[in-house]
């Protein structure tokens, strides 16, 4: 079995590569990479996986596709990593998508919610992790159709793949009536100083639903502006920005009352988890291995959870650490309960199902926290089911 091991795997080490935006416009996401690094430190301190330590090499690509190519090729061809794990961003991962598949290097659990990461036929070496943005959009659409009388939706979205996927999900979910129901859409660029003008237009559209597809800073701005304009729609806040600590508390709790969002991970800012074992394990980990980390930042939970998924795959692989087997194990996760996933949500993959997480639960903001309600929902876009 030894001979078939992937490059970067020795008797006492597994090399894993990663690209993250530690600089540039998306640097906030760097917290994910840092958390994962800390998580592997913990794994190593506890003896590693089957006696092998993880050598996690996480490099900066500044969210720039050309640099992702450079850094990824360096990781694969110079550092000889066994696999690339949790590369962040859609354009960045797209830039190395073909390369890694051609080289047969696992591109595992990419940190983006585009739908294109789950195509086992065309790209057998690439797999996503988080539920995709489109299915989240579908979830909101269904909620609207069931709960809002005579809905008129106004959308604010970031003008990139992420924003457009969310919008597309909403369109799919609304079905034939999408064009009627969506009465206004406004986009913004990450470089825009404010999104006020857009919100003014949306408020003027006469919509009674505000679909807020924005990243944290803009989400806080938008929530504030909606309030300032005395506009009172049903607000749907995308999960990218549902962190209590970094968004709702910043905008002001009073402005967030009644907002709806979807969750698949536990929000560290939600006081109701204080006694949860799962939460405590994460919290202890943070204190011990990532004391500088911001515990209100949902990315740290994300990093912790996905890192554990990776560990699970490697554990399942046992001593057969060939790239093929690593990929095969990643594609055979059965009801894996990754830490910090909401109760009832599990990870399932198969040879034809490269979408690890496909479930959601809706929550409504009341007082100072999100209150989960209803059933665990499946998004159903792009998934095998």
């Amino acid at each position: 079995a030894e001979a078939r091991n992937a490059p970067g795997v020795t008797d006492d080490e597994i090399k894993i590569g990663n690209t993250n935006p530690y600089s540039g416009p998306a640097a906030a996401y760097g917290a994910i990479g840092k958390t994962i690094g800390a998580c592997f430190d913990k794994v190593n301190a506890e003896g590693g996986i089957n006696g092998r330590k993880i050598n996690f090499i996480s490099v900066d690509d500044g969210y720039s596709p050309p640099r992702t190519v450079e850094q990824t090729r360096k990781l694969v061809e110079r550092e000889n990593v066994a696999l690339i794990f949790q590369g962040l961003g859609t354009p960045t991962n797209s830039a190395v998508h073909a390369y890694l598949n051609k080289k047969k290097v696992p591109q595992l659990f990419v940190a983006t919610g585009a739908t294109k990461w789950g195509q086992p036929k065309e790209f057998p070496w690439t797999m996503g992790w988080q539920p995709n943005y489109q299915s989240e959009g579908v979830v909101y659409a269904r909620y609207i159709l069931q709960n809002v009388e005579n809905p008129k939706v106004a959308i604010l979205y970031q003008n990139d793949d992420y924003g457009k996927d969310y919008v597309h999900g909403m369109e799919i979910g609304l079905g034939d009536k999408a064009d009627e129901i969506i009465v206004a859409r406004e986009s913004y660029e990450v470089t825009d100083p404010t999104i006020e003008s857009q919100v003014v237009n949306l408020a003027n559209s006469g919509a009674n639903v505000f679909y807020n597809v924005t990243t944290p800073k803009f989400a806080a701005q938008a929530i504030t502006k909606v309030h300032e304009l005395d506009w009172d729609p049903l607000q749907l806040l995308n999960s990218v920005s549902n962190s209590i600590g970094s968004v709702v508390s910043k905008a002001g709790f009073e402005k967030g009352q009644g907002m709806i969002t979807a969750y698949y991970l536990k929000d560290p800012g939600n006081p109701s988890y204080q006694n949860d074992e799962d939460y405590k394990a994460w919290s202890t980990f943070m204190d011990e291995y990532y004391p500088d980390g911001d515990k209100t930042d949902a990315f740290t939970v994300f990093g912790w959870s996905v890192c554990n998924t990776m560990v699970q795959v490697l554990k399942q692989a046992g001593d057969d650490l060939s790239r093929e087997n690593i990929m095969a194990q990643a594609a055979s996760l059965k009801d894996y309960n990754a830490p910090m996933l909401l109760p009832g949500i599990t990870i399932n993959t198969g040879p034809n199902d490269f979408y690890p997480i496909e479930q959601w639960q809706l929550a409504k903001f009341e007082g100072k926290e999100w209150k989960l309600f209803g059933e665990v929902l499946a998004g159903a876009v792009g998934s095998g089911s």
Binding site: S23, G30, E196, S246
Partner: protein
């Protein structure tokens, strides 16, 4: 309320943001005869200092506000002394590279020291509507007020103090300036200090609206720069008018003409068209070159 009026008001409100920063741009232009690309990042960093003074050190807002101005003044002064003095004779393009270096350093240091989660920055004015039914918050109004006060101070500085004149002279003709006894180095440092201080005020006014993040000035700087250039780089008054103009123009474009995807592009094209007809900006002094 009429959408047009609302967008205009909202444009004026964003315009106030740009105007603030445009003033800092004019200040540095007068002092170094160039534009400092790190200006926005320095302002952002100053704002983090103020935030730290308030949120961590527990200072009251007013104390933190003024402390931040002083710290920024000294900081800007020192940056010039430490970083630029050794390369005083290098060509201007090399200086631009150093601006870029400062940009990277301030940006990444802010993320490193204060992380990336948006911070809430307080305002002494409050966010309530100033007049019931008019979508203009007290903070916006306060911001316009402070901007106008700054404008007055800067205008007076350049118009009525010998230092203001000497600063311009030092920037434009350093050798001659030395010959009339102007300490050119000091003027440069002072210009940096003042620009940093103005930037700090701008940052502290902007942050309550945009929230404080390390990248909050990335886009804002372009607008501030555009405001200053449209108004005329030599005129503080022009900078303020330019800032408001950019804010309003952008909103009109986005709402009534091309939609939000291309509003920035079109607004900038318009600005450039303005410049084609008034190459020194609306209020800038036309410098005639003759032989």
């Amino acid at each position: 309320m009429d959408l047009f009026i609302e967008q205009t008001l909202s444009g004026l409100a964003s315009g106030a943001i740009y105007a603030c920063l445009a003033l800092a741009v004019v200040m540095i232009y007068q002092a170094i005869d160039h534009f400092n690309f790190a200006q926005g990042e320095m302002a952002m960093f100053s704002t983090y200092i103020a935030w730290w003074l308030i949120a961590v050190a527990g200072l009251p807002f007013v104390a933190a506000f003024f402390a931040c101005i002083v710290i920024s003044l000294v900081g800007g002064f020192m940056v010039e002394r430490i970083v630029f003095a050794p390369i005083a004779d290098a060509p201007v393009l090399s200086h631009i590279i150093v601006f870029i270096a400062l940009f990277s350093i301030f940006n990444s240091m802010a993320g490193f020291l204060f992380d990336f989660t948006p911070k809430k920055f307080p305002t002494p004015f409050g966010h309530e509507q100033l007049i019931e039914g008019v979508p203009l918050s007290a903070h916006r109004a306060g911001m316009v007020g402070v901007t106008l006060i700054m404008l007055g101070v800067i205008y007076a500085f350049f118009r009525y103090t010998p230092v203001g004149l000497a600063m311009r002279a030092a920037a434009a003709a350093p050798d001659s300036a030395r010959l009339v006894g102007i300490n050119v180095r000091f003027m440069l440092s002072l210009g940096w200090g003042l620009a940093a201080a103005i930037g700090a005020v701008a940052g502290m006014l902007i942050a309550p609206i945009t929230f404080l993040t390390p990248d909050m000035m990335l886009g804002t700087l372009l607008y501030g720069f555009a405001g200053a250039v449209v108004g005329g780089l030599t005129s503080p008054f022009g900078a303020v008018v330019g800032g408001f103009l950019v804010g309003v123009l952008e909103n009109w474009m986005g709402t009534f003409v091309v939609g939000s995807q291309l509003k920035l592009t079109v607004a900038l094209v318009l600005i450039i068209v303005v410049l084609l007809f008034k190459p020194a900006g609306l209020f800038g002094r036309v410098v005639v070159k003759r032989v």
